[in-house]
């Protein structure tokens, strides 16, 4: 899945948004008896560094992927340092700003292997919601979050029927992979509530 590649947002917002993904190569990494144990160990490392969101633990035992979301680069450096030291041999992908990821690689002494670049959106763009709403909905890699949901919660916040934090938590629910960043969602919702699209 192209999962977290097409997240929208300005540079400053994206500096507070990192997704770390660990994945088995099918037929290669998953053929050893301790494969699952290694993937779960990565889940534990991610969890120990207080992610803002993480794939539910119940999925760690069945999924070939584990994902977690972080809000600051220094924590991501610590995670990567630990993953490098433990040398588990499982592929690790970080989504974020190219300049920030290069910074992480330099500080942790890693050689980036392959990149996936986004050229953005093409075609009938008049079918899309506003840019700010897309900043929220594109935080789910499988696009399970409806633009109507965002509008619905903006109205509830304006009517003081729900807090911004609770609305962000509700919006995160359809994202089963745990890559939705509720902290960023709070910031974006605050902007949208003020009427800036």
């Amino acid at each position: 899945m192209t999962h977290s590649l097409h997240r929208k947002g300005n540079i400053e917002d994206l500096k507070r948004d990192y997704v770390i993904l660990a994945m088995f190569a099918a037929g290669i990494n998953d053929k050893y008896p301790d494969s699952r144990k290694k993937l779960i160990r990565i889940g534990e490392i991610l969890n120990q560094h207080n992610p803002i969101n993480i794939m539910p633990e119940v999925a760690w035992n069945i999924s070939p992927i584990i994902t977690a979301t972080f809000t600051d680069i220094e924590t991501v450096k610590k995670v990567m340092k630990t993953l490098k030291e433990e040398n588990l041999g499982v592929s690790i992908v970080i989504s974020g700003l190219l300049s920030e990821i290069q910074n992480i690689a330099t500080k942790v002494d890693l050689n980036l292997h392959t990149v996936h670049l986004s050229l953005g959106i093409f075609g009938k763009k008049d079918l899309l919601p506003s840019e700010k709403i897309l900043e929220i909905t594109t935080m789910c890699g499988h696009h399970c979050i409806s633009s109507y949901s965002v509008e619905y919660y903006i109205n509830l916040i304006r009517e003081e029927k729900i807090s911004v934090e609770e609305a962000a938590r509700k919006l995160a629910k359809p994202c089963v992979c745990g890559i939705f960043n509720p902290s960023r969602a709070v910031q974006i919702l605050n902007t949208l509530v003020k009427g800036i699209s």
């Binding site: 192209t2 992927i65 980036l112 075609g123 079918l127």
Partner: protein
């Protein structure tokens, strides 16, 4: 998906959560437009229907093909992983699926959030096949291409899905041809699509394709996915 009209109380929770806006309220009852529904099951999982009126019905062929392209929980039998994509560059440090001198391309039709009929795949694949691209063998889209001209199975063309990802690679020398296809299809397609470019990093850390894409008039976004090189066979 279906909503039991005799149970529905018209609260509208399912209308709100549907990513493709396929559910409407009519006479205070929620109704699913079955043509527009992509079978993502978000309504079933997340609407919190107070009367449990939303049902996941047993899908028949060809409608059942909507599910792996839309429902994140469905594991496609070709890829073996949940969701509609593949490992692509995520495990490239182990698989070397994309070598130096090759460019990987992902064209996700219907993303973000608009959806697509599967017939739109052919708009790309009939042109890409002429170029001589190498389709990703593990991709659910490749599994429905039936010939070397890039046609897909006729009876699935009118099935609507949340998104479909065409994954393929070309030698560096053919990237301009691919970009021309993207320009051409953009003018005629009835939905949106998102494009990704996969490339190996040079030993000195350079990513030369960024300049080439810029010269061709394509803007590379600042946020990326990076394989950090920690995997091994």
């Amino acid at each position: 998906m279906e909503i039991k009209a005799d149970l529905c109380i018209g609260c509208g929770q399912c209308v709100i959560v549907c990513p493709v806006h396929a559910i409407k309220l009519k006479d205070n009852k929620a109704e699913i437009n079955q043509d527009q529904c992509v079978e993502c099951a978000v309504c079933y999982r997340d609407a919190e229907c107070p009367v449990k009126a939303i049902r996941s019905k047993r899908l028949k062929w060809p409608r059942i093909i909507r599910s792996p392209f839309s429902n994140v929980i469905t594991t496609h039998k070709v890829t073996g992983i949940p969701g509609r994509g593949t490992e692509e560059m995520k495990t490239n440090d182990v698989t070397n699926r994309y070598s130096l001198g090759e460019i990987g391309i992902t064209i996700e039709i219907g993303r973000p959030g608009v959806g697509t009929y599967l017939r739109n795949i052919e708009l790309f694949t009939t042109k890409l096949s002429k170029i001589g691209v190498e389709y990703e063998k593990e991709s659910p889209v490749t599994a429905i291409i039936i010939d070397d001209k890039g046609h897909i199975k006729e009876y699935i063309k009118n099935e609507k899905v949340l998104s479909a990802i065409i994954e393929f690679k070309v030698p560096n020398s053919k990237i301009t041809d691919v970009l021309n296809v993207i320009r051409e299809v953009e003018k005629k397609i009835d939905t949106v699509f998102s494009v990704g470019i996969i490339t190996r990093i040079m030993e000195n850390g350079d990513i030369p394709i960024i300049n080439l894409l810029s010269e061709e008039g394509f803007k590379v976004r600042k946020n990326i996915k990076a394989n950090m090189g920690l995997g091994r066979a």
